[in-house]
Amino acid sequence: MTVHLELPAIYQFPPLFTRQPNKSIRNKQIETWINIILTNCEQCKIWTITKQGDMKIIDPDTQQVTTFNIFHNTEIDRSCSPIFINEIWQMMQKQGQLLNRDGKDLKISTDSDELQTDEEFYILWKSLELWANEILDWFERTTQLNKVVTFYEIVSSEDNFNESFYSMPEPLLYQILKILVKRGRATMLKENSKYVAIKVI
């Protein structure tokens, strides 16, 4: 396991990995899982997770990438079943903590076969609304209003290294910025029929 993950003690509790039959206990169990996922993603700035639970962790020093499956605890040799994992995704989606890449609702069916291994979700440890507010705040704070700013600048400029949204994937940023457009605070600009920049007013 990588050095960057700080997992709570309950992560070593074998029943965490079995879908509990008692419904109110299961709700707590799912809540526990969501906390584990959000806390870790936030701490390690992990923006995406695969449908199976794989997360890519980048060592800040060496830039080395480790893949870690949150739903498989190798130490105690326990895994969550795909059916239970889906239940967790569904709850996270309902609570706005998970976003499909295209911004559409997930089609999570326990009966759908052939999990596409490349299927990835965005993990929202802050809600889309909250992100939108933070970015709006940044525009105002850095006096970027009425200027065209590229998506790339927002999430990848070294000036923004200490901003909470630094390193955010651009498609996720796009979903967040759409909220500003909807609020009438911004317009987006295309290049080669793809949105690449924004002007906040």
Binding site: I83, T110, D111, S112, D113, E114, L115
Partner: protein
Amino acid sequence: MKKFGVAAFEDDERVYNETLKQFDKQTEQLTEQLGIFQEKLVEFANRHNEEIKSNPEFRSKFLHMCNTIGIDPLNLYVGRDKHLFTVNDFIYELSIKIIQICRNTKDLNGGLISFDELLNTYFKTLNITEGDLVEAIDLVSTLDGGFEILKIKGTKILRSVPNELTNDQTKILEVCSIMGYASVSLLRVNLKWSKVRCKSVLDEMVTSGILWIDSQTHQKEMLFWDPAWIAKSLSN
């Protein structure tokens, strides 16, 4: 080996061993004599059915003796119309036997036993019909102990544990009733289930002791066998 009245002889191991040995010897001879005696008693019971029935005192003593020397009471019934006590004693006795069989085989079959197995393995010599079984099980089910008759592809199964089968589990048992086993690929082809669903229901049935795994197939795929196959293979 079980000890007989150990305490009395503890101080004198030799006496104890002497006795034990003597006992073993006698046991062997007795077993032989007992066999003959048992046969005679059953014969006697059948021949003097009416007399035994009409004298409660005698009947009570007679049946106690039979029980003490280990005669299966079901052997004392020549037929449903000839019985040593009330009309229903036969069916009560059968109910008790069924309860005992279910408890003894639970670890082998997870609490599911087919009528075929009951009739062909346990009641083979006793001339018991499927109707008798149904009647006896109906009686047992008034005790609310989780006993229930299921039907898998037209075959009757007795479930003696309170965990009800899910629809998915029942479908898997249907597949097993044909081949003896199920596997992920068999289920995918026949039931059009996803891999995930197949695997999770099969695993669940192993956990609850209903299916046994077989990892030595040539297809390199795990097979999940229904132990009901064992009795079935006997009758084929």
